[in-house]
Amino acid sequence: MSITSDAPAARPHPLPGGPPAADPDLARHLLRLGDDALVLGQRLCQWITRAPTIDEDLALSNIALDLIGHARALLTRAGRLDGTGRTEDDLAYGRTDREFTNVLLTELPNGDFAVTVARQLVYSHYAVLYYGSLAHCPDPDLAGFGARAAKEVAYHRLHADRWTVTLGRGTEESARRMRDGLERVWPYTAELFEEDEGLRRLAASGRVPSPAPLRETWLGRVTEVVTRAGLTVPGPAWSATGGRAGLHTEEFGPLIAELQSVRRQFPGGTW
């Protein structure tokens, strides 16, 4: 297990000594976006056979499928750009927990259905805005990905909006759970809009959009839905951070262990 932040460099990769990192800033950014999608997709898969109705089972697993599709495109590109020549599978199944750079929001345990809905609400509103902006970036492949992914997450947003309002305006019990769900995920939303030097460099040169300026629009849209649900947006009490640096919550280890279990038991297996 790696316990230091420079562990990735110590790990052997498929191309020893490989070509120099072609584009480390973009590689790191796409890896982060890909990890967000992969980890949230994996979390949502844990609802399969456990959702409140069969329609919700289908809805959450279909959303998970989309997210894993986004992760595949992003990780494939990241592996080509980071100079290691790693494939999407190498990145998903061959990294330790400290090498994952997803926001903590995506790895939070599912909680009850309302917690999952609250997380889908805040994530899908963010993803619609970010991928929608990415659709205008100068890289044609990345722009095409952004355009398509934005449409898909907009469909997830529709689902989250509807459930937020249904639960908020349902019974006293469902409203209480929805309120608790929003309280639970809210401190983890700030990390979605975090930027570091590498991302600022990319954004300054116009290669990818900057997430920070999207926060106000995001807050406005989420507030509109939460208000429609008869609830209020939680106040900013504290904010979680660390996921982008590979510092994860305690519940992350078991999630990744499950994700990687087949690869560990049957290394290199194909069927």
Binding site: L58, D66, D141, G144, A154
Partner: protein, 170 residues
């Protein structure tokens, strides 16, 4: 290639495209890949190797590996064993790419084709917007936004009391 097997004559790009377009979609076998609108250009790449462009419908579409394998088989059968399948994302797929013939075939097999052009933002269908593919009634209502495959939602016909899938406009 070793010289022991007589080489299959190399078919023209147009003929390869026609055969790729006729392949059934693995998830919606009633419709060909061409009518679904996922087959792009079929032409030799810079190195002279024949390349087939495929635009995935949904980014996570689980049928992609099957589609890729089927296209490779066509390439080999057409004398292009070195041919390539290339996924393109630059012009993302929308349901507007489904041909009129594709829509007709979907409806004939009980899958309501998308009713509205794919807007920038997805909208779910309301009451009576999608005619029932079984009885033609417009007394239909949405049942679930997610259905048997990622591209389908489920509606319910109050006239013939049958649920039916609808290819969601996206």
């Amino acid at each position: 290639m070793s010289g022991t097997v007589p080489e299959t004559p190399r078919r023209a790009a147009d003929e390869v495209r026609e055969r790729v377009a006729a392949l059934p979609d693995p998830e919606l076998p009633v419709i060909g890949l061409g009518d679904l609108g996922v087959v792009g250009t079929v032409a030799p790449a810079d190195d002279g190797v024949l390349e087939v462009e495929i635009t995935p419908t949904y980014l996570g579409c689980p049928a992609l590996p099957e589609i890729t394998a089927a296209v490779r088989e066509v390439l080999t059968a057409c004398g292009h064993p070195d041919g390539r399948v290339r996924q393109v994302l630059t012009l993302p797929w929308t349901t507007d790419r489904i041909t009129p013939e594709g829509r007709r075939r979907l409806a004939a097999h009980g899958i309501a084709p998308p009713v509205s052009p794919a807007a920038g933002t997805p909208v779910t269908v309301g009451l009576g917007e999608v005619p029932c593919p079984h009885c033609g009634s417009r007394a239909t209502r949405p049942h679930s936004d997610f259905g048997p495959s990622r591209c389908q939602s489920v509606l319910w016909c109050t006239a013939c009391r049958e649920p039916f899938p609808h290819l969601t406009a996206l």
